[in-house]
């Protein structure tokens, strides 16, 4: 069984970011910890896509350099392709250019008349290179016109699905926003086109949707004639949901996860596309990720063909218990799942602020007296210099995790209290913005305050350091610096 994700647009990419972190924490289904994702965006330079790729690269660096053995850490087998862009010809910019409208119109062609009927004049002349700016009909048209499952990324993606289908039903998840441009247009179009395409040779595929309903907003961009209007998000959302209903998507998709927020976050970056469109992570992407995990693990649990929605206990807070799980899961299972992410949080803070500074010092000094260095490097005859890159890769990735956790915990909205981790432990606020603390700013004792709303065992720096000093790795598949990382990770166990 394999899992596939078609992450469309910025929101799709951001879901993939969450899934990377969740996968890194070992939260993908144990029996199929694989995820093949294809990023789809008309703007291949989209900041969100780029960030997703950066995280994936950081993750893959760890996967490649750090052999931690049989552990939740870095357990997921992730592949990320794309971004595939439907803008086929780089010279074309507008619908008119894509379909040679002017020439058709001059020849009094019906084609031009059909375009006149189905689009506004401004839409026909809107540049689509950087997305569809809240005009999903344009996107749908562009997608439908350009997608070819026998070419490029799609061919590989389709082949992977085809191959996996022979052993188990492939789970194919599509994700994107319903109120924006690229995701809104790409998700339903690609679902229909891909499902139609696979119909002949992949009969057992299960399709799912993660639909991002509005959860953020931004100011209008000066000088852009056509752009997504946050004020229109609610109406656009309603219309899109009706569309999914009317076009009977629940007959195609087994699950549709709908997530959104009543109080939208204010995004700091306002841009219609390109690198400037790099939105900070939001906890709703974590929630959506929980839905994706459930879809990937859904064989035995979920009812077919349903809309899935979830809730949290308090509007102004997101706690570990608010992360939605399958209702069929028992409490232990839920806690186990929660613990994986909690452990990753503790590990990220510990590694970046406690361990890695000491590792750097050991590498600089040629050695260290700390037990975990002695036990897992020196006694194992691991050459420090050979470990340098792997250890640095882990640190780089933990920074990504910390940044993600920070923004998940501090959405840009009023009246919200962190409920998962305490951002003050590893970050400092500067007005509306937050940044990660420098190692020298970090207080080790604060680690005890990291996990919030944890009624059970308290994890503090002493505990982690003590465990690290005593840790042993009895997993032969762990090797090199991976053994050290594994030991340190194991030290961060929260239960």
């Amino acid at each position: 069984m394999s899992n596939f994700l078609v992450a469309v647009g910025g929101s799709g990419a951001k879901l993939m970011q969450s899934l990377i972190h969740l996968g890194a924490a070992g939260m993908l289904p144990d029996r199929a910890p694989t995820l093949s994702a294809l990023l789809v965006d008309p703007d291949e330079n989209n900041g969100n896509v780029e960030e997703c790729q950066n995280i994936e690269k950081a993750y893959q660096a760890c996967k490649q350099l750090v052999k931690v053995g049989k552990s939740d850490l870095f357990a997921a087998q992730l592949t990320l392709a794309g971004p595939w862009t439907p803008i086929v010809h780089h010279q074309t910019d507008t619908l008119k250019e894509i379909f040679n409208y002017n020439q058709l119109a001059n020849n009094a062609s019906e084609e031009a008349e059909l375009m006149d009927l189905f689009f506004e004049r401004g839409e026909l002349e809107m540049s689509v290179k950087q997305g569809f700016r809240g005009r999903p009909a344009i996107g749908a048209t562009v997608f439908a016109n350009s997608v070819n499952f026998d070419r490029a990324e799609w061919k590989d993606f389709r082949t992977a699905i085809h191959h996996s289908a022979s052993s188990a039903p492939p789970h194919i998840l599509f994700a994107g926003s319903v109120f924006g441009g690229s995701g809104a247009s790409g998700v339903p179009t690609l679902v229909r086109l891909l499902s139609n395409n696979l119909e002949t040779d992949v009969s057992n595929a299960r399709y799912g949707l993660v639909l991002f309903l509005p959860f953020f907003q931004f100011r209008k961009v000066e000088g852009e004639a056509i752009q997504a209007d946050p004020g229109s998000f609610p109406l656009a959302t309603a219309e899109a949901l009706k569309y999914y209903n009317e076009r009977n998507f629940l007959a195609i998709c087994h699950s549709i996860y709908a997530v959104g927020e009543e109080i939208p976050a204010e995004m700091t970056v306002s841009a219609v596309g390109a690198k400037e469109q790099r939105n900070e992570p939001h906890f709703i992407e974590l929630v959506a990720g929980m839905g994706a995990l459930r879809f990937f693990d859904a064989d035995s649990h979920s009812k077919d063909y349903s809309l899935a929605v979830a809730s949290r206990q308090e509007e102004g807070k997101l706690t570990w218990d608010d992360l939605p799980c399958d209702p069929q899961m028992g409490g232990a299972q839920v806690h186990k799942l929660q613990n994986k992410l909690q452990k990753m949080a503790v590990f990220a803070v510990s590694y970046h602020y406690i361990f890695y500074p000491q590792i750097l010092e050991a590498l600089r000094a040629g050695g260290s007296k700390t037990p975990w260095w002695v036990d897992h490097i020196e006694r194992k005859n691991v050459k420090p210099d050979d470990s340098r890159a792997a250890l640095a890769a882990v640190d780089a990735y933990t920074v990504k995790v910390l940044e993600w956790l920070l923004h998940v915990s501090t959405p840009r909205r009023a009246n919200f209290s962190p409920g998962l981790v305490n951002p003050n432990v590893f970050a400092v606020s500067q007005g509306q913005n937050w940044r990660l603390k420098l190692p020298r700013e970090f207080q080790q004792v604060d680690l005890a305050r990291l996990l919030l709303n944890r009624p059970k065992t308290k994890i503090d720096d002493r505990t982690v350091l003590t465990r690290a000093a005593r840790s042993t790795v009895k997993d032969d598949t762990a090797a090199g610096a991976g053994r050290l990382v594994r030991a340190l990770f194991d030290s961060c166990e929260v239960e």
Binding site: I98, N100, E110, E111, L114, D116, L117, F118, R135, P136, A137, A140, T141, A144, V178, S185, G186, V187, P188, T189, R192, P214, G231, F233, P234, L235, A236, T237, A238, E239, L241, K242, Y243, Y244, N245, E246, R247, F249, L250, I256, Y257, V259, E261, E262, I284, M290, S306, L307, A308, V309, A310, S311, R312, Q313, E314, D321, D322, P324, C325, P327
Partner: protein, 1099 residues
């Protein structure tokens, strides 16, 4: 309370999507996707929707919004859907030729094409309206803006298997809002508010027919019931009482097919049929059968009639509420698609109000209108457009127009119109316009405006009316008028004249003007531009006369050299025609000024006897089209003499006086002179009921054949014009039944004969002429003297010579007019006026004639007191002239007596008539008796020439000098016999043809004159006899001088003969080629000229 990871949702019943109850778990909602969609709270402000992620978004959105009453876009989309159906339904009725359809079949194989995209994503909804219609095939609807030559058809809508029809995503500007008022420039809207009640009813019936057809065609589906409900709702919105036609054919067009041949769209293929009858509530009623039909667009009508604007039908499908499609352009009138005319109040009213500050009656000749309020002594020109005259009679306009003066000085002008409604009934409407001070244009100097003649008549087709306008100031454009008559064939033939700073214009129309279209310049202070204000004056037309039919009338026209006269006879004795004052005075003017200007430049504003007309014409010059395009009274007029001092107005060179004998320009003037006096005469007999008339005109025997031919041609033209203009049929110089023989004979209107008829017929103071014992008539005119010798009712001889009053009387006066001052100092001022002119031209002659005409009697009365040599000399000249005529008459008698054709009794009566006969009175110092010296001298000269002994002469002067010929033309035919044996002229003096002597009673052939073979006998045997009769002697020097003068004249005549032969197609060589100017008369003229020269020199 758990809080959902969802956007804000509606509260209350609008939200059927319950929040997940447990935090931290996924809740399955198998069927609630739509509930979630509906639960999303959407801000209230209207928004466009772009969130359907499908190439078919427009169709899908349209479908969703149309059927979902709660959808934000439902009202808008329902409006578009309704508007589109109305567009199709009214395709024929509103003549939407711009609307066409075109079938579309999607082709998925077309690479990189939008239709392939559509085909890939085509909605596979089984819940279409009907299985036979899907998205693979549909129609697009196109609209082509006018002008079609500049615009291509553009797709703006399409048929839909889900909603029947759907509009495109963006069709702003693609449809004409003028033609489709429910298209707001961006999208179609519900048409109900834009349709008239009748049209709503008709469209509703068509919609109901459509509903029935859909019900029949479509199998039962949920969607079917929804679309049928919508269709029925639409029909109900249009007209709640409308019912489906029992037979669809009653409403479906049989002429227009949309081309929707397939599937459920067949139900839309036949639009609503056109109305069989065009109806309106605002058809302007007019009594004029030829008036164009207009439909009034007056916004206040709704208030006036207390009706909703939509229920006031303008025409066809346009009602008052939607009429702005026509009026938006700012135009005040135009043509509707069917060719009907529409008009707003602006069509009727002018932008400016012309007024006069005159406190009196500014327009006495116009129809008065109702006035309310204090006009502050202002008179107005009706501020109505010329077009109003095509719709209403002046009387209707007068009755419907009113002006109410406002306290602030403004004028509220109203026009009441009668409108025919669609029910066939009549309703009234009042349109108004207020003119503030800034909208008023002052006319400072009221021009003189009058119309001639002042009658309309039913018995003849009178077609000659003249509108005269004269400006008293330099502002000649003020209140310029153009006469208007309803069925006038062409614009008034007007001509502006600027004569010595007299600015006037005469316009000719065939019909009596009903109105005057006025214009006056003003400066628009806003634009700093020169503009023209316009308005109407409604003429108070005279009642149409229907006089009882009149028996045949005879008009006799004596066209004289210095004076002319016209007599008429129908019952009783001949009488001079009296030209009545037939001027219709339009503008209020001082009577004296009015009278003066009209006489000087047009027609006198008083009665005028037609025996007091000087043959003087004021020629305003030819129009640019040439002399043949001249219009009588417009291009010149008869100068009627009243006060010689003001006789001639303007350029003296325009005065023509030698009409009878002059050159080409005088001939043209003569023609127009005759046209005018005949036209005036015709007016007088027309009002008496005359429909046919005899017209007789005379000519002197002295006329050459060429003169006669010219005269006849002139008269032909005059009479031809006269008949066309007056509708009176004229018989010119008709034959007559000879009372003696009973034979029908051609008219003989030679002046010598007609004058005799006068003397025979007229029972004046001197009793009727008795010619039974022989008599001679001498008609001394201005240019010729006609003489006739009668013997027992038989004309035995007659002749006419070019020697008359002008030679005898006027020539000395021309030389020395001051003699008249000497005779009577009271005329000295008049003479001074005459002398101021300097040049002795035609005007001078006319002026002189006018003085004599006016003061003749006074001068004669003053003669007996004068003893000066000058006066004596002057009278002596007159005596010589008269005696010369008497002598020549005597020669005529001698000839017939020698031939034994005449035998004188003991008394021979000489009847002297003509204007020149007054010279007898001059010479007789007032009263001619047998004792008068002139009587004796004239008798002696006559008897001497006639070689009569023991015969007494009795001279009788005419009681009506100058009227003899005109009278004689119309008097009863007398039993006269005319012998032509001695009608040939005589030379009156011995002469030579070559070396051969010729007797005095012969006449030199013209051919010999041309060859210069004719010479006078220098001994002047006859002329010497004449001088002896005057007790004068002729020395050799005198005879030699006379001989030279006569031979010089014969030489000149030689050239005239040559010229006449050149013109004469027959190339005749007889004597009639020339005017009769006997050698004796030539000698007499020369002699008299010498006498005058000598007299003048002494004076």
């Amino acid at each position: 309370m758990p809080h959902a990871y969802l956007p804000k949702r509606k509260s209350g019943t609008g939200n059927r999507f319950p929040d997940p109850q447990a935090a931290g778990v996924w809740e399955e909602r198998p069927t609630q996707l739509n509930h979630l969609a509906e639960a999303i709270e959407i801000p209230s402000e209207p928004q466009r929707i772009y969130s359907i992620p499908d190439a078919w978004a427009r169709a899908l959105l349209f479908d969703r919004a149309l059927f979902d009453e709660n959808h934000k876009l439902h009202p808008m989309v329902l409006g578009e859907w309704s508007g589109l159906l109305a567009l199709i339904g009214l395709r024929e009725r509103r003549n939407f030729e711009s609307l066409t359809v075109h079938p579309i079949t999607l082709d998925s194989s077309l690479p990189n094409s939008f239709s392939a995209v559509l085909a890939q994503l085509v909605p596979q909804d089984e819940n279409m309206l009907s299985p036979e219609s899907n998205w693979q095939q549909f129609y697009i609807l196109r609209w082509q803006l006018t002008p079609w030559t500049h615009n291509n058809p553009r797709a703006f809508a399409f048929t839909s298997p889900m909603t029947l029809v759907s509009t495109g995503a963006d069709y702003s500007g693609l449809i004409s809002s003028d033609e489709v008022p429910w298209f707001d420039g961006e999208r179609l809207t519900d048409p109900a508010d834009h349709l008239a009640t009748r049209e709503r009813r008709a469209l509703a019936e068509w919609i109901l027919a459509l509903s029935r057809e859909l019900t029949r065609q479509i199998t039962n589906t949920v969607r079917k019931s929804r679309i049928v409900d919508l269709v029925n709702d639409f029909a109900h919105r249009l007209d709640a009482t409308a019912k489906a036609p029992s037979n669809p054919e009653d409403v479906l067009s049989t002429n227009v097919y949309m081309g929707l041949h397939d599937g459920i769209y067949r139900a839309l293929d036949r639009p609503l049929k056109s109305e069989t009858s065009n109806t309106s509530d605002v058809q302007i009623i007019t009594s004029k059968p030829t008036a164009p039909t207009y439909y009034l667009i007056e916004p206040s009508l709704s208030q006036q009639w207390q009706l909703n604007a939509k229920d006031i039908l303008i025409f066809g499908d346009v009602h008052l509420a939607t009429a702005d499609r026509y009026t938006n352009s700012g135009q005040v009138q135009g043509t509707m698609p069917g060719g009907q005319n529409w008009a707003t109040s602006g069509f009727f009213f002018q932008n400016r109000l012309i007024y006069l500050r005159d406190g009196g009656v500014a327009f006495p000749g116009c129809l008065p209108v109702s006035v309310a309020g204090d006009p502050k002594k202002r008179s107005i020109v009706l501020p109505l457009s010329e077009e109003v005259l095509k719709l209403f009679t002046p009387k209707e306009i007068q009755e419907s127009f009113s002006v109410a003066w406002q306290p602030n000085g403004g004028a509220l002008c109203s026009l009441r119109l009668r409108l025919k409604t669609s029910s066939g009934k009549e309703r009234t409407c009042r349109i108004q316009k207020t003119y503030n001070e800034a909208d008023m244009v002052l006319v400072e100097d009221l021009p003189l405006i009058t119309i001639w003649p002042n009658f309309r008549i039913s018995t003849v087709n009178w077609q000659a009316y003249y509108t005269f306008e004269m400006w008293s100031s330099q502002k000649r454009d003020e209140l310029k008028v153009k006469p208007w008559a309803d069925d006038e064939r062409e614009p008034a033939a007007n001509r502006f004249q600027n004569l010595d700073q007299r600015h006037f214009e005469v316009s000719f129309t065939h019909k009596y003007p009903e109105a005057l279209i006025c214009s006056t310049p003003y400066v628009d202070l806003d634009n700093h531009s020169g503009e023209t204000a316009k308005g109407l004056l409604l003429i108070n037309q005279p009642e149409v006369l229907s006089p009882p039919a009149m028996t045949r009338v005879t008009l006799g026209v004596d066209f004289g050299s210095t004076g002319s006269g016209i007599y008429q006879r129908f019952k009783g004795d001949p009488k001079p025609v009296v030209f009545k004052n037939r001027l219709h005075q339009i503008t209020g003017y001082d009577p004296k000024v009015f009278s003066r200007f009209t006489r000087e430049l047009f027609i006198p504003a008083r009665d005028w006897s037609a025996d007091e007309i000087l043959s003087v014409f004021q020629d305003f010059g030819d129009p640019k089209e040439g002399p043949n395009a001249r219009v009588v009274l417009r291009d010149g007029h008869v100068l009627y003499t009243e006060d010689p001092r003001t006789f001639i107005s303007g350029d003296r060179k325009r005065v023509k006086s030698n009409l009878k004998w002059g050159d080409q320009s005088e001939k043209i003037a003569a023609r127009d002179f005759l046209r005018q006096i005949c036209l005036q005469s015709a007016a007088e007999i027309a009002v008496e009921g005359c429909t046919t008339a005899d017209l007789r005109y005379s000519y002197p025997t002295a006329f050459s054949d060429g003169d006669i031919a010219n005269l006849e041609a002139t008269w032909d033209r005059v009479v031809d014009d006269l008949e066309k203009q007056t509708g009176i049929e004229f018989r010119v110089n008709p034959t007559f039944l000879d009372p003696v023989t009973g034979e029908e004979k051609p008219a003989d209107n030679r002046e010598a004969i007609t004058a005799t008829k006068f003397f025979c017929d007229y029972a004046g103071e001197g009793n009727r002429m008795d010619i039974t014992g022989g008599a001679v008539t001498v008609d001394i005119g201005g240019g010729t003297t006609d003489m006739a010798v009668w013997n027992r009712m038989e004309l035995v001889s007659h002749s006419s010579v070019v020697f008359a009053g002008r030679d005898i009387f006027l020539n000395p006066l021309r030389k020395n007019p001051s003699i008249l001052s000497e005779i009577d100092p009271r005329v000295s001022h008049t003479i001074e006026e005459l002398l101021k002119t300097g040049e002795k031209d035609a005007a001078y002659d006319a002026h002189l004639e006018a003085i004599i005409s006016k003061h003749g009697k006074e001068l004669i009365d003053g003669l007996h007191l004068q003893e000066s040599e000058g006066v004596k000399g002057f009278l002596s000249i007159l005596e010589t002239g008269l005696c010369g005529i008497g002598f020549y008459a005597g020669l005529l008698v001698r000839r017939v007596q020698t031939a034994a054709a005449f035998k004188a009794g003991r008394r021979v009566a000489i009847f002297a008539g003509g204007n020149g006969s007054k010279i007898f009175r001059w010479c007789a110092l007032g009263r001619l008796t047998e004792r008068s010296e002139i009587h004796q001298r004239f008798s002696k000269a006559f008897l001497n020439a006639a070689d009569l002994k023991n015969t007494k002469i009795e001279i009788r002067l005419s009681e009506k000098p100058k009227s003899e010929v005109a009278y004689g033309l119309v008097c009863q035919d007398l039993p006269l016999r005319v012998k032509e044996d001695f009608a040939k002229p005589i030379a009156g003096e011995a002469y030579m043809i070559g070396e051969t002597e010729q007797p005095w009673d012969s006449s030199p052939p013209a051919e010999e004159i041309r060859k210069r073979n004719v010479m006078v006998d220098r001994k002047f045997p006859v002329f010497q006899q004449f001088l002896e009769a005057l007790d004068e002697t002729a020395d050799e020097d005198l005879l030699d001088r006379l001989g030279g003068q006569v031979d010089l004249r014969l030489t000149m005549l030689s050239q005239e003969v040559a010229n006449a032969q050149q013109r004469d197609k027959k190339k005749r060589k007889d004597e009639n080629l020339l005017r009769n100017e006997p050698i004796f008369i030539i000698a007499l003229k020369a002699y008299l000229a010498m006498r005058i020269e000598e007299w003048a020199r002494r004076a």
